[in-house]
């Protein structure tokens, strides 16, 4: 009978050690604390989200230990940063640590810098075939994610310092969601990097992320988009807290798929082939990211429809943003049909995924720039 132990896969609960339990208890305790203190300001949905978040992040942290560490890191640094404010917005530019490191604006700037460094290091690691440099690049990406999330958390707090009525989750305009996009894409990549050991792809994925970083910088310095604006009435809804993140998991995953497809196309032509992962691995990664993206994009679109029914009087109004969401959805639906039913593989699908990024980018950014409609909060 002792042979059984060899192959019996452990269930998740069996794999947990005391650190995992401590982590989960901390999250739940945090949620209980927040509930005890702020329950009066929350509606039932927000209470569900609060405890839901504790459960979801416990589960994610159990499945992926590094993410758990990130969650703890973000919590500790954000709370520390918040404690330095003493409830005064002005201290963001007066206190040394806040001004240069962890006020929301500085943390976001550090995120930008770290993403640039990570990209350079990933490419260096690939050309030099350096394992060490690869690990440094991974660490830099994690640090960027850490600073980015701290930036968003502190920004959330800062919005309440402006006025309690102004306070809102920082995923309400183009500036904020671009940060979210960078962070989610980075995390998705790090997850696959761990599972597939594909540090060579980091440079490709960070190209897309750094394009977004470039946008954030332009948007900050040219348009002062980093200033916190109060929410327009249409956005004052708990739906935003799930619709927007779900959407950006979709966008992030599609971007990741496009980065991988670029690597695939190069490797397929023999360029960098010896440095890049095998074609099967790239192909599989491409499929997996599109699958994640498609699933979350579907959920996001449905959540959007339910929200629209509540705010605009109809679940579908053929608003340009809605229509482009449909186009993106149809595009990847066709991609998945070809791959799953036809069993199609190879460069055609890689090209399709790459061009899919253009469609996705238009839906995400182009609609706001060139077309008008109900989703006008994201205008440039």
């Amino acid at each position: 009978m002792n042979k059984v132990i060899d192959y019996q896969p452990k269930t998740l609960l069996q794999q947990l050690n005391w650190q995992d339990w401590l982590y989960a208890i901390l999250l739940v305790a945090g949620a209980v604390f927040a509930y005890a203190k702020y329950a009066n300001y929350m509606d039932i949905y927000e209470v569900v989200f609060l405890f839901g978040a504790a459960v979801v992040f416990s589960y994610l942290g159990w499945q992926w230990k590094a993410l758990g560490k990130l969650v703890i890191g973000v919590a500790v640094i954000s709370l520390f940063s918040i404690s330095l404010y003493h409830g005064e917005q002005a201290r963001a530019t007066q206190t040394f640590l806040l001004k240069f490191l962890i006020c929301s604006q500085s943390a976001i700037m550090w995120m930008n810098v770290l993403f640039v460094l990570a990209m350079v290091t990933y490419w260096f690691a690939m050309f030099k075939r350096s394992v060490f440099a690869g690990s440094v690049a991974t660490a830099l990406t994690w640090s960027a994610a850490l600073m980015g999330f701290v930036g968003l958390m502190v920004r959330w707090y800062e919005s309440y310092l402006i006025a309690p009525e102004v306070g809102h989750i920082p995923i309400s305009n183009l500036y904020e969601v671009f940060i979210l996009f960078c962070l989610i894409t980075a995390l998705l990549y790090l997850h696959y990097e761990k599972n597939f050991n594909t540090k060579q792809l980091g440079g490709f994925v960070l190209l897309v992320i750094n394009a977004a970083v470039g946008f954030i910088l332009w948007y900050t310095f040219d348009r002062q988009a980093n200033n916190i604006q109060p929410l327009v009435p249409a956005l004052q809804s708990y739906w935003m807290k799930i619709h927007v993140p779900a959407n950006f998991i979709g966008y992030g995953a599609f971007s990741l798929a496009a980065s991988v497809s670029a690597a695939y196309l190069l490797a397929n032509k023999g360029i960098l082939a010896s440095r890049l992962p095998k074609l099967e691995v790239l192909d599989d990664l491409m499929y997996k990211s599109i699958a994640v993206g498609f699933a979350f994009f579907t959920i996001a679109t449905i959540l959007g429809a339910i929200w629209a029914a509540e705010a605009w009087g109809g679940y579908w109004s053929w608003d340009p943003k809605e229509t482009w969401a449909l186009i993106v959805w149809l595009n990847y639906a066709a991609w998945l049909h070809l791959r799953m039913v036809k069993g199609l593989r190879g460069p055609v699908l890689a090209w399709w995924a790459l061009i899919g990024l253009i469609v996705t980018t238009f839906a995400f950014l182009g609609v706001n720039m060139f077309l008008s409609g109900l989703h006008s909060y994201g205008t440039l």
């Binding site: 042979k3 059984v4 060899d6 192959y7 019996q8 896969p9 006025a163 009525e165 102004v166 002062q224 604006q229 109060p230 327009v232 009435p233 249409a234 004052q236 809804s237 099967e280 691995v281 599989d284 499929y287 699958a291 498609f294 699933a295 579907t298 959920i299 449905i302 429809a305 339910i306 029914a309 509540e310 705010a311 605009w312 009087g313 109809g314 679940y315 579908w316 053929w318 340009p320 229509t323 482009w324 449909l326 186009i327 149809l330 595009n331 639906a333 066709a334 049909h337 070809l338 799953m340 039913v341 036809k342 609609v367 077309l371 008008s372 409609g373």
Partner: protein, 656 residues
């Protein structure tokens, strides 16, 4: 039509067709399209249904094709999927196992009796631990086959996703305008294009309360009520009757400290014979009210007939007499009429819009923070010939570069930007100082006096060498009077024309400078004359005063381009708002949500449940165990799993 190629083509065609409606703004008033495309292309695009792509027949046809294809796929493939879902494929034989790409044959020491039973037991425990379900089959040659499967629920994903699409389409169809389209084609209904009250619309353009689905709008001024909604269709509308009456008690806009709107709320009262007492409820954006299956949303707002009180100045009059004018938004008034209410100089005033809050960025570089500059009023002045100019006038003075001005804009057509008249204010933020100066500078009777004062000043400054005052310079005085006469005719522009006509080109700049200086000095004297007449303290000539005088003179010159002598100063208002409500009835909504839930379920089953099958053939005759594995989707996960199982089974069956 159920082919893969067709389905993917339809997905692409639908995607491309959808783009059209995002590029061309949909459901605009038809006049906008005519201006944009011209009459010929307008008609062409209208025939193609491009102004409402998503409700056009051809778009519906694409959807219909897609859904038919989808339904055929379900019809054809579902039995197969169900079969795959249930079967263990225990008919597999050694021959078919040999054909597998993923297989392994283990040679075992002795596979009989007790040993056979043990091995079988071990393998079954293995399969169970891995989450496989299994079935036995004894082969004709006495060998035993274990057929196992896991993750076959994936097959249900196919049925779920595809039926979800059909259900969503069905829900959408219920909420679409297909019934009206059919009625319109049969001639039972047609749209109303005239601008008439809802109650006057004939029955052929009315939809009864039995209409299962609609999406209409209703504009209610505060204190009024209605029981119909208007449904926009192409360049007209339909009247949707409601099974109840909606009244608006109050509409409120709340603002953040920065001036941006924070909330729009309407207090509405529903009266219905089925209700014992009227139903009172506050609705706001994101918080609609549903009554009798009709959802009532806060959609927009507009003016509901705000009452206005004006002080009207005649800019070109030689006095500063004013008259009172009362009006209300959406109403008309008259100015300059004779006793009969008409006359060649009569001007009609059409009050179009009143806005209580106006958030404007007034900083010079555009980087400062926008803030609220207070109420403004938009109106048209139409002369006897029917020519109209549009005006926008702000009630309170605006701060521009540290100084305050009354602002009023004028434009001749809607395509143009407003040209703004900026009138400077006094110390007490009133417009009177400017108006007094204007009246004095327009009245020739004052020019001698002004010229005389200027001459005295000049004489006082330039004393003769012996200390005696110089005699007054009569020609100088005359030229000042002449200059003021020209200035009164048309401001700087008139003076410039006089210079151009009378002064040689070389000397023009010098002359212009001298004239401008003289006008400034004259205006300073005139301003003080005005103050003296009103028994107010006189201005001292300093930089601040000079800036004020300069602003006054600019305003004076610009008023000749204002297009009307009437300057309407808003003194008081009684704000009345109207709330824009959207009323919808969508029986398809629950179907769409059902379909959506099914879609998500299906997608997750299809993408994240992996179907795998394992066959284990125990052959006592040859002391062999034959392991075969397959999956309907071959990918890396499958390869890894196969390699792992191959070794784990080897450990189990091959005794060391």
């Amino acid at each position: 039509m159920s082919s893969m190629r067709f389905a993917v083509s339809m997905l692409s065609v639908l995607g491309i067709a959808s783009i059209i409606g995002t590029v061309l703004k949909q459901n605009e008033p038809y006049s906008n399209y005519i201006i944009k495309f011209g009459q010929f292309w307008f008609g062409f695009f209208e025939a193609l249904g491009l102004y409402d792509v998503y409700h056009s027949s051809w778009f519906l046809l694409i959807l219909l094709f897609l859904i038919t294809s989808c339904s055929l796929c379900i019809y054809r493939n579902s039995p197969l999927m169900v079969k795959e879902w249930r079967t263990f494929k225990e008919q597999a034989t050694e021959k078919s196992l040999n054909a597998f790409s993923h297989q392994e044959i283990y040679t075992v020491s002795a596979l009989e009796n007790q040993n056979l039973a043990n091995t079988k037991q071990q393998l079954l425990m293995f399969l169970k631990a891995k989450g496989f379900k299994y079935k036995f089959k004894t082969q004709t040659d006495g060998s035993e086959l274990i057929a196992a499967k896991a993750g076959t629920h994936q097959r249900l994903g196919y049925i779920f996703t595809h039926s979800a699409m059909v259900i969503i389409f069905f829900g959408g169809l219920l909420d679409g305008n297909l019934p009206f389209k059919v009625q319109e084609m049969l001639g039972v209904k047609h749209i109303e294009t005239r601008d008439i009250p809802g109650s006057k619309v004939p029955a052929i353009s009315r939809l009864s309360t039995n209409n299962p689905s609609f999406r209409g709008n209703m504009t209610l001024p505060e204190g009024s009520s209605d029981n119909v909604a208007f449904v926009r269709v192409r360049d007209g509308y339909l009247v949707q009757e409601l099974p109840f009456r909606v009244a608006l008690k109050d509409f409120r806009i709340e603002h953040y400290a920065t001036g941006q709107p924070k909330s729009f709320e309407s207090d509405i009262v529903i009266t219905d014979s089925d209700l014992k007492a009227p139903l009172t409820k506050t609705i706001s954006v994101n918080h609609p009210l549903t009554y009798k299956g009709v959802a009532i949303y806060q959609s927009d707002f507009q003016d509901g007939g705000t009452k206005l009180n004006f002080k009207v100045w005649n800019l070109l009059a030689k006095n500063n007499a004013t008259q009172k004018l009362d009006g209300a938004i959406f109403q008309k008034g008259i100015l300059g009429a004779d006793v009969n209410g008409a006359g060649a100089n009569a001007v009609k005033v059409e009050y179009n819009d009143f806005r209580k809050f106006n958030i404007i960025n007034l900083s010079a570089d555009g980087k400062g923070k926008p803030h609220n500059v207070g109420p403004n009023i938009t109106y048209k002045l139409r002369d006897a010939q029917g020519q109209a100019r549009e005006y926008v006038t702000y009630m309170q003075p605006m701060q521009i570069d540290g100084k305050y001005y009354f602002i009023s804009g004028m434009r001749e057509t809607v395509q143009e930007d407003f040209l703004y008249l900026r009138l400077p204010v006094d110390d007490d933020l009133s417009i009177n100082g400017f108006m007094n100066l204007r009246a004095i500078l327009l009245d020739q009777a004052n020019f001698e006096e002004i010229a005389h004062r200027l001459a005295q000043n000049v004489a006082a400054k330039n004393k003769a060498p012996d200390g005696k005052a110089l005699p007054l310079n009569k020609p100088f005085e005359n030229s000042v009077v002449q200059l003021l006469k020209n200035f009164a005719k048309g401001g700087y522009n008139e003076v410039a024309q006089v210079i151009e006509k009378n002064v040689p080109e070389k000397e023009r700049e010098v002359a212009a400078k001298a004239y401008i200086k003289m006008i400034n000095l004259a205006a300073f004297e005139a301003y003080n004359m005005g103050l003296a007449a009103n028994k107010k303290p006189l201005l001292v000539n300093n930089a601040e005063t000079q800036a004020l005088i300069q602003d006054c003179l600019n305003g004076f010159s610009d008023m000749f381009f204002y297009g009307t002598p009437y300057f309407l100063q808003l003194e008081n208002f009684e704000h009345k708002e109207a709330s824009g409500l959207q009323l919808t009835k969508s029986p398809g909504e629950k179907w769409v949500y059902l379909g959506s839930a099914l879609l998500v379920l299906g997608i997750f089953s299809m993408l994240y449940i992996r179907e795998r099958r394992i066959w284990l053939l125990l052959k006592p005759s040859s002391n062999q165990v034959h392991f075969g594995m397959s999956s309907n989707r071959k990918n890396l996960d499958f390869e890894q799993e196969f390699s792992l199982y191959r070794e784990q089974i080897r450990n189990l069956v091959v005794s060391k």
